[in-house]
Amino acid sequence: MRVTSNNFSENLITNFHAIARRQLTLQDQIATGQRIKDASDDPFAAHQVLQLRDDMAANTQYQKNIGVHQEFATVTHGLMRNLQKVLDRAQEIATTVDDLDSPESLKDYAGEVNELLNHAVHLANAQHRGEYVLAGMSTDTKPFTTTENASKQVTAVSFTGTNNTAESEIGAGVLVSSRVPGENRGGSGEGGLIADTQTGADIFAHLIALRDQLASGDVATIHSTTRAQLQADEDNVLSHMAQNGALQARLESSLAANKDENQSLDKEISNRADVDLPEAIIKLNQQQTNYQAALQSASSVMNMSLLTFLR
């Protein structure tokens, strides 16, 4: 093939463009640490990266959800512990009293139980982040309202919340609730903390009964019935505490698993999107060598023609 003067320059320009393009790509990859930026760099890998990134974003959100659940589970657990203390004392009183106690001392006990009752009502209406913890789904409404007699004693407590609680995701399709309904008199579904038909728990009614029985000196009924009822109340609270503990352990392990999964996902993304730095640097060096060689050879070839030797 006949080679003309412009063949050299055109060829050189084409090569310069190609080397410059490769250098730009490699330099960009080294500077950003990424092999893939745009989908056109590697469409298949980019597709996978976008999906993995989406899974990671969902996981990160699940971690936040788990955090909220852990917070509510801790708050609920504290509430249960305080209720348990109330029930412990009530049971202690119910066990301690006997026929030998004077009516005055029984009335003193009745006064203490009344305070325990008031404290329990206060606990049952506890709020966290402006929401009533035991209100079920009706978190903006005070769940327990009291009826008082002329001497300002609580005679009945009614529940206005719902007997179910909100569940949200801690993993794809994995729904949990970190709340407990205050009452469930429906006989099925989630167990109520204060009153529950399935376990026979009814803390307020039993405390009211104990108070009234102490006030009237009906120790026999306390021993025959109320003590067992209070035991059932405490058993119910303890059962909830056990469930709460299990939930917290589950949340903790879900969080750990979620973080592990995110690390794996990040590794998968890295495998597809990140550049192998040593390889890229070696390639860039090769390109720089090519560039130097192209410049050197061009300067010697292009500077020479017959003109150089004509006088």
């Binding site: 056109s40 976008l50 990134r53 959100q61 936040k64 079920g136 949200s168």
Partner: protein, 464 residues
């Protein structure tokens, strides 16, 4: 019988011939860098001979014709390759721009891990914020953030739509300006035809430089629109596009024009009603990519938007707000261009219908159902989730860009090869021209020597 004066004439003719040859070589050297220049050669031939008793006696040499050294087949191939490259250039440019406009570049270096700035990130943020509401249904702050994220997503849809719109407009403007440019080139080719026919009629040679210029114009035209060329006996070249004669000898018979074909800008031969059946060149490439890949991409974005709007609205309508209102849409609009969050909700986050039962502030069933839509496979999206669909659209466009890029690179190699072929026949080599120059100079000096010798011989005779 030839005398010494004839020898003088012979020398003089020879001097004139080699001066012409040096001129032609000089012209070649002067145009070594002129685009489209074809090297020329002076054809030197022997002159007519005189008869004589010893046989015909030569009378030296004479310039016959200045010819171009070129290959018709390569010239035609250059036009064909220019049309293919023009079409691929237009396709690649448009697709590359579309990919940039989607803002789906993956960023691994941000504070929030792997992110993009496009719809896929918007969808991900929307569903994360929905999860926050589902976990904290009574929280006004989380509702506020969710609505803001929803509006950001709606804005991303709007921006994507308007950017693809402007890309369409840009392509249409490119088509219009290229049609004007093509018409200009048709005009120039017709004028060059006229000059070539005129000049060649006056001599036996060719209008070499004018033919080079015409060839260059034809290559420029081929880049814009693929055409058929037919050289006439008088040297003019007729140009036809899709069977329609556009340049007829010295006249432009028909020009190209753009027209509105049911809302779509198309190109036709002036005076005709239907679009010209273009098959190559950048105008064809622009129309093709606009009505093909880009129309498909817009369809995908609109489908994603409309499915997203209807699915979220269908769930949201069933819910109850903190003020116990129900039945409101979450999004207004039906496409990527007009999607927006219901202004009433944006104004008052309490109106977000997150609850499944009236009067239950802590009920999250609807918020959870909206959040769970992220996992749902939608029949309207060919069984893909929202983010899955977007990832597929991006990957598909990425594949289109990658294919166009590699086709273009291949084409550039082919075009370069054909240009090299052309240069190997028609390009100027300085070494070659300098060698010729020395050759012609030597011949010129020899002819001059002949004249001076003849002069000395004449002087000898005169002094006898």
């Amino acid at each position: 019988m030839a005398g010494l004066f004839d020898t003088l004439n012979l020398g003089s003719r020879s001097l004139s011939t080699y001066r012409k040859a040096i001129d032609v070589t000089g012209h070649n050297l002067a145009n070594v860098n002129t685009e489209g220049y074809t090297r020329q050669r002076l054809q030197i031939g022997t002159t007519t001979t005189d008869g004589g008793p010893f046989g015909p006696l030569g009378n030296g040499s004479d310039a016959v014709q200045i010819t171009r050294l070129y290959s018709q087949a390569t010239a035609k191939q250059l036009q064909t390759e220019a049309s293919i490259q023009g079409s691929l250039d237009a396709k690649h440019d448009a697709l590359q721009q579309a990919l940039v406009f989607l803002q789906e570049s993956i960023d691994r270096n941000g504070a929030n891990g792997t992110t993009t700035k496009g719809l896929s990130q918007g969808l991900s943020d929307f569903f994360a914020a929905a999860q926050n509401v589902a976990t904290n249904p009574g929280s006004i702050e989380h509702r506020q953030v969710f609505l803001q994220k929803a509006q950001e997503l709606a804005t991303k849809f709007n921006t994507t739509d308007s950017r693809l719109d402007s890309l369409n407009e840009g392509i249409n403007e490119r088509i219009s300006s290229e049609v004007t440019e093509a018409n200009g080139l048709l005009n120039e080719i017709a004028k060059l035809n006229e000059s070539i026919v005129g000049e060649e009629a006056l001599s036996t040679g060719f209008a070499n430089d004018l033919r080079d210029t015409r060839q260059l114009k034809m290559e420029a035209l081929a880049k814009l629109v693929k055409f058929e060329a037919a050289e006439q006996e008088n040297g003019a070249i007729n140009i036809s596009v899709a069977g329609n004669l556009l340049v007829d000898g010295r006249e432009v018979a028909n020009s190209l024009e753009t027209f509105d074909d049911s809302g779509s800008l198309q190109v036709r031969v002036a005076g005709q009603s239907a679009a010209a059946g273009l098959t190559g060149g950048s105008i064809y490439g622009s129309i093709n990519v606009r009505d093909g890949e880009l129309a498909n991409l817009r369809g995908q974005v609109d489908l994603l938007a409309s499915t997203f709007i209807s699915e979220v609205n269908a769930v949201h309508r069933t819910g109850f707000s903190l003020d116990n209102t129900t039945g409101a849409d979450f999004f207004t609009g039906t496409t990527a261009g007009d999607i927006s969050v219901n202004a009433a909700l944006l104004g008052n986050p309490r109106l977000l219908q997150a609850s499944g039962v009236a009067g239950q502030a802590g009920n999250n069933t609807v918020a959870q159902a909206i959040a769970s839509l992220s996992e749902t496979k939608h029949a309207a999206l060919n069984g893909l989730s929202f983010s899955g669909k977007q990832a597929q659209s991006i990957a598909s466009l990425g594949q289109d860009v990658a294919s166009a890029r590699s086709e273009l690179a291949d084409q550039q190699t082919i075009s370069q090869f054909v240009r090299d072929q052309r240069d190997s026949v028609s390009g100027v080599s300085i070494d070659e021209e300098m060698t010729n120059l020395i050759m012609f100079q030597n011949a010129f000096q020899a002819s001059a020597k002949l004249i001076s010798m003849t002069d000395e011989m004449l002087a000898t005779i005169i002094e006898m």
